[in-house]
């Protein structure tokens, strides 16, 4: 065993009583959590539990009704989305949004040009993009048009785009939706590879097996409220969590 020096990892992202109301509907209600450097937080919950709304408030596409988003010690509620990207927040979209009319390489180069690294030259950005495409296993499709990619390759592209921004926090919104079990395993391997890069990860997922193997901690949302947060095995066996997902056990 190698005895690593014991330092408490820095908190990268923290929310304090985060709430989002859409007119009458409370989508996210008083949710507080934090993720440290190198840590992976799995977020699960039934459809409509507020998972994506939470991600939208962190990435800046929605402003919270109440509460605070704190990134590396700084309250970023009023920081627009593009500036959050500069700070080091990257995300993938549940409905993938590749830039059509651009090649795969150019799609990823956008992240290198405008993200935290903010390369000024096209050549350098394309070089970085090439590296990330190799990393995500899309090296063979570099010159393809983005719209020509199939499902699993689109996910890889989505990963490469986010990674090329050199984020400190990566938000993955249901990246495994629509994949078959083999492809899910491939994506799990890819996320494990990303974890070893040391950034903070927030993974929204329905595939419980994947969440269990990936997460350091699991948080469960139900009707916008946090109902559990902790060790994956313990959380996934919590009767309240099972009830939220499957309904009450009949005895």
């Amino acid at each position: 065993m190698t005895a690593a020096p014991q330092t408490t990892p820095r908190t990268v992202i923290e929310t304090r009583g985060l709430t989002k109301r859409f007119q009458g509907l409370v989508s996210v209600n008083n949710v507080s959590f934090q993720i440290a450097e190198g840590e992976t937080l799995g977020v699960i919950g039934p459809n409509g539990a507020g998972k994506t709304t939470l991600v939208n408030m962190i990435s800046g596409t929605l402003t919270p009704s109440e509460g605070q988003v704190v990134f590396e010690g700084q309250v970023i509620n009023d920081v627009p989305a593009f500036r959050r990207a500069h700070l080091g927040i990257a995300r993938t979209f549940q409905v993938m949004k590749p830039f059509h009319g651009m090649t795969v390489l150019e799609n990823v180069a956008v992240g290198a040009l405008f993200g935290r690294g903010a390369e000024r030259s096209m050549a350098a950005a394309k070089e970085k993009a090439r590296e990330w495409l190799e990393f995500t296993g899309l090296g063979r499709r570099i010159d393809a048009n983005a719209e020509a990619l199939g499902g699993p390759d689109r996910k890889r592209l989505e990963f490469a785009k986010a990674l090329s921004m050199q984020p400190r926090l990566l938000l993955l919104d249901e990246v495994m939706a629509g994949l078959n079990p083999v492809e899910v395993d491939e994506v799990v391997d890819l996320i494990k590879k990303i974890r070893s890069q040391g950034m903070a990860l927030l993974v929204i997922e329905h595939v419980v097996k994947a969440i269990r193997s990936l997460s350091d901690r699991v948080m469960v949302l139900h009707h916008g409220e946090k109902i559990a947060d902790g060790d994956p095995t313990r959380v996934l066996e919590d009767p309240r969590v099972i009830e939220a997902y499957l309904g009450k056990r009949r005895t």
Binding site: T61, A81, A90, M102, F114, M122
Partner: protein, 315 residues
């Protein structure tokens, strides 16, 4: 094919530069109009083609360039060059003032908001004594078509070089990202507001210079001709016909359409506009992504290409 385009464009530009020495007066005059229109289509291409924002307000910058030049030359006896600079500054200020609020609107809402700009400007300039109110201004006469031709050609070359730079730069990548998905672009770090407004300001520069050149050439400016919304429609048609978001598409598109219109007008004067409209409808049906897309296919293009376009558009 791709490697050939750039040297070919340089050759064409050089050949065009010699036209006033060999061509007839009518040809040179047709040339000036065609070159100015191509410049307008090319500058519309910056925000419209690359950024995906369809503007019907670009003719306002043309009008501001026209009046800036005319007012400077007639009321203050300033040289033409100074007039152009004043026109450009007016247009840039106009673009920034207009762009900041209305570029928040997306898609069709932006286009609708820009529609009203022309009328508003026409009303303002019709009531400005310094601009000759609704009578207009008469500029000093300069009988030198060759000079105007070379000026128009130079402007088109500079404008196209700018677009070439955009197509290969970080700036252009940001614009294309905004066109394809503005939310995704923002989340990836593109400052969409800054990018869009600067694209409009950039377009306004070339548009205003074109207006200034036309004002001095035609020696007469009035509100109706300066703020002509059909001029804006022509920019859009020519750019889309040639290929929006490409470097040479808008230039080729506007040359072709100018020529088509000229031929139609000479042959069958009254029905020309009708037939011109017919040509445009056919073009949109058979090649919705413009001439540039057809050319890109090179020799592989066949009737299948046109059939596929019809299928894709469910016509």
């Amino acid at each position: 094919m791709k490697r050939l385009i750039l040297p070919l464009a340089v050759l064409v530009a050089l050949a065009l530069a010699f036209l006033p020495m060999v061509g007839s007066d009518t040809m040179v005059q047709f040339g000036i109009n065609a070159l100015l229109l191509a410049t307008l289509a090319q500058s519309w291409n910056i925000l419209g083609g690359f950024g995906g924002y369809v503007s019907f307000g670009n003719s306002v910058f043309y009008g501001l360039g026209t009046y800036g030049t005319a007012i400077a030359m007639t009321n203050y006896n300033l040289p033409f060059g100074v007039g152009l600079v004043i026109g450009v500054i007016l247009a840039m200020i106009g673009a920034a003032l207009v762009g900041l609020p209305i570029l928040r609107l997306r898609g069709p809402y932006f286009a609708i908001a820009t529609l009203g700009l022309n009328g508003a400007m026409m009303a303002i300039f019709s009531n400005l004594p310094i601009a000759g109110s609704n009578i207009g201004l008469v500029l000093p006469l300069a009988r030198n078509d060759a000079m105007f031709y070379e000026l128009a050609l130079g402007l088109l070359v500079v404008c196209t070089l700018t677009v070439l730079w955009i197509s290969r730069s970080r700036y252009g990548m940001g614009l294309i990202a905004i066109r394809e998905d503005e939310d995704a672009a923002g989340v990836m770090g593109v400052n969409a507001t800054l990018w869009k407004v600067s694209a409009l300001v950039l377009a306004s520069i070339f548009t205003a210079v074109a207006g200034g050149i036309h004002a001095y050439w035609s020696t007469f400016v009035d509100p109706a001709s300066a703020f002509d919304s059909t001029l804006n429609v022509r920019m859009v048609i020519m750019c889309v016909f040639g290929g929006p978001g490409t470097v040479f598409g808008p230039v080729i598109g506007s040359f072709v359409l100018s020529a088509v219109y000229e031929v139609l007008a000479a042959q069958i004067s009254t029905a020309a506009a009708l037939l011109f409209g017919f040509v445009i409808v056919l073009a949109v049906v058979f090649m919705p992504r413009g001439l540039a897309d057809v050319v890109k296919g090179g020799r592989a293009i066949s009737w299948r290409y046109f059939i596929r376009n019809i299928r894709e558009n469910r016509l």
